[in-house]
């Protein structure tokens, strides 16, 4: 009875909120959990429940799945409003059943915070869990990769879900010892020099603590390793990317459209393809669906104003793996670059001040390898950035400072031969848009 009271109360609350235009709040989930703490186990689930967790790529993967299944006419529950913890999951799932607890959606797609996944995943028992990767993240929340591995592992072990994992991630690939697992991997097919991170996410064997050897790395710790002592090694991919071309990549012999030049998005796309295969879709449908898909614009975007290219690229603040991966990818592009950093936390103030540990886990040294013309640092931590950039070896005359992000656009050179990259922390996307729009206006006014 308590369950139905929770269901009805939260559905009524959600109904009112939707009328008020606030339906994307997870307060209905909080209300339901207050009335019936075990609601997540009791609410009936759609026929297929897909949960996506991991450090980086969750939003990209869930949106890709959503857009493709939507095109197929599926009714979908999806927590796409940045509420990826328990209350958000409850809010999504109560909205996926009617007042009699009968599912009214075909599929639920749940983005899941990795830190709390040990509690929510066993309650939800998803059919499929995609773990994109495990990397270092905000130390304040996530401590270190092994800590997050333990959290996710606890959850998936209890859930019995089928796991879709990245075989080339030596951390997340060891999740769920007894779960059914499907691995994706990318062959080594180019001779790019791999940058050795100053703070590697994985370097010692989890079994015997010996330094591991890598046969190759794609980026950061992603690649093929083997322990010289106990011989523990990377898993083999059930689905292998064997070729990456300008616009396509080949997975198990079939060519698919490539949605991004970033290798980590090819992993994301591959995991989506594997899921769709599991759901019974044939490769032609998947090819066609991907051809009509894109990476969410909140992640990466290119705008061209009078032939000057402006790239917006998310690089989560407090997350050295995300920033280092972005810098590593930029270092592989030969174009001349100007970079604006908008990485400080939005909530800076008396209640919170960022830790700066992550600045010294991040590979700012890569700035010396990416044909940098200028870097503009913004935000309240600008003095820390100056120290970090100088210690990284960035020449003083390439560093510009704009404590107020709104002024950053004035410090950039308007040169068609120099591409501009605005790297922003996820919560700073609105500010990054302001910077880009101001810059575009300046270009329109000043460039012939």
């Amino acid at each position: 009875m308590r369950f139905y009271l929770a269901l009805w109360a939260s559905k009524f609350y959600l109904f009112i909120k939707k009328i008020m235009g606030q339906g994307r709040s997870d307060r209905a989930g909080l209300l339901a959990a207050k009335i019936c703490p075990e609601i997540l186990t009791k609410v009936n689930k759609p026929k297929t429940v897909i949960l996506v967790t991991g450090t980086n790529g969750k939003t990209t993967v869930t949106h890709l799945i959503y857009n493709i299944l939507k095109r197929d006419g599926k009714k979908i529950g999806f927590n796409d409003w940045n509420a990826n913890m328990r209350a958000g999951h409850i809010r999504c799932l109560i909205d996926s059943v009617n007042i009699f607890n009968k599912p009214n959606k075909d599929v639920a797609i749940l983005e899941c915070d990795e830190m709390t996944s040990n509690l929510t995943v066993p309650e939800i028992k998803p059919d499929y869990v995609i773990v994109t990767n495990i990397c270092r993240d905000s130390i304040r929340r996530n401590s270190y990769p092994e800590f997050i591995f333990n959290k996710i592992n606890e959850g998936v072990t209890k859930s019995g879900s089928t796991l879709i994992l990245n075989a080339d991630d030596p951390i997340s690939s060891f999740l769920g010892k007894n779960n059914k697992k499907i691995f994706v991997s990318i062959d080594k097919f180019n001779k790019d020099e791999v940058y050795e991170n100053i703070s590697p996410d994985f370097n010692v064997c989890p079994e015997c603590n010996t330094l591991v050897n890598y046969e190759y790395k794609h980026y950061r710790h992603i690649g093929k390793f083997k322990c010289p002592n106990c011989k523990l090694e990377s898993f083999k991919g059930d689905y292998k990317v064997t070729k990456v071309s300008e616009n396509t990549f080949t997975l198990n012999g079939i060519e698919y459209p490539k949605l991004s030049d970033n290798l980590f998005n090819i992993y994301n796309e591959s995991q989506v393809i594997v899921l769709l295969k599991q759901l019974g879709y044939d490769f032609k449908f998947i090819q066609n669906a991907l051809a009509n898909s894109s990476i969410p614009k909140s992640r990466e975007n290119l705008e061209i104003e009078k032939d000057i290219k402006i790239y917006s690229q998310m690089a989560k603040g407090q997350n050295s793996s995300a920033l280092s991966t972005v810098l590593e990818n930029l270092s592989k592009l030969k174009n001349k670059k100007q970079i604006v950093l908008l990485l400080d936390e939005v909530y800076e103030g008396l209640d919170a001040q960022e830790t700066i540990t992550w600045l010294y886990d991040s590979d700012f040294e890569l700035l010396n390898k990416l044909n940098l013309e200028k870097i503009v640092v913004t935000g309240p931590r600008y003095l820390d950035y100056i120290v970090r950039l100088k210690l990284a070896g960035v020449k003083e005359n390439k560093i510009e400072v704009s404590p107020d992000y709104k002024e950053a656009y004035k410090l950039l050179n308007l040169d068609k031969k120099s591409d501009i990259y605005v790297l922003y922390e996820v919560e700073r996307r609105p500010m990054s848009r302001e910077v880009v729009e101001s810059l575009k206006e300046r270009i329109r006014n000043e460039v012939e």
Binding site: Y144, A352, Q353, T357
Partner: protein, 238 residues
């Protein structure tokens, strides 16, 4: 030339601790760093060292580190007594304890000191921190799953944030030239005045690379923390 030995650097990839040693190297060309891996015999066993460094590591690596170093505990005590400088940051201070209690089980530490560790991986202590060492303002941040009890010689006197003991003002341990603190990662970069003290203790010039920039960031942080209403402790235990 001054020799700094970093013990088990491959474990210390969690909170930017190792960059501190890079920073020291950049400050003075008369510093040579020796890195000793987990499967190697420590350099200090048969060679003169001027400083030993250990930093934060995944908590699962604490006990293996103790077990590997146990046979050298007498040598470590001898080095401390003979005024070799030790800098220990983050949870690495657990290694030098008398014992560690976790899940009602006791693990022997290296028993270099009498302090002991109470550990609970479900309780994290996250805070910003200010304190005083001698007349030097210390700033930093913390992220640890243990508390350190029975400290006889505190390193820093806590003003704001969690201390090592939580219940008193002692942060870390200082005995002769042994300095240990839970403060993380770029501790030396965030505390240029302490780094100058440390370099002097090593018998080197106290000139820092980019000293003016370091001091600017340091002063700004101290001023920020002096604002009334600043919250140091983050969340429920972090």
């Amino acid at each position: 030339m001054k020799i700094i030995e970093v013990i088990y650097p491959e474990f210390q990839n969690v909170y930017a601790d190792l960059y501190q040693i890079e920073f020291l190297k950049k400050c003075n060309k008369n510093i040579k760093v020796v890195y000793t891996s987990y499967n190697d015999e420590p350099y200090f066993v048969n060679n003169k060292v001027d400083m030993i460094y250990m930093g934060s590591m995944p908590d699962s690596k604490i006990i293996p580190s103790i077990e590997k170093l146990r046979k050298y505990s007498a040598k470590i005590k001898e080095l401390i007594k003979s005024d070799v400088l030790f800098l220990i940051t983050g949870n690495a201070l657990e290694i030098f304890s008398s014992y560690i209690i976790e899940n009602n089980k006791n693990y022997e530490g290296l028993q270099i000191f009498n302090y002991y560790i109470e550990k609970d991986m479900n309780h994290k202590y996250v805070s910003w921190y200010t304190g005083k060492f001698k007349n030097i303002d210390i700033v930093g941040h913390k992220n640890h799953y243990s508390v350190c009890k029975n400290i006889e010689n505190g390193f820093i006197k806590t003003i704001n944030g969690y201390s090592s003991d939580i219940e008193n003002i002692n942060e870390g341990i200082n005995y002769k030239k042994f300095y240990a603190t839970y403060l993380l990662g770029p501790f030396l970069i965030m505390n240029p005045k302490f780094t100058k003290f440390l370099l002097k203790e090593l018998g080197l010039s106290d000139k820092l690379i980019y000293e003016e920039d370091l001091l600017n960031a340091y002063k700004e942080r101290i001023n920020h923390f002096k604002k009334p209403g600043t919250r140091f402790v983050m969340g429920d235990h972090g």
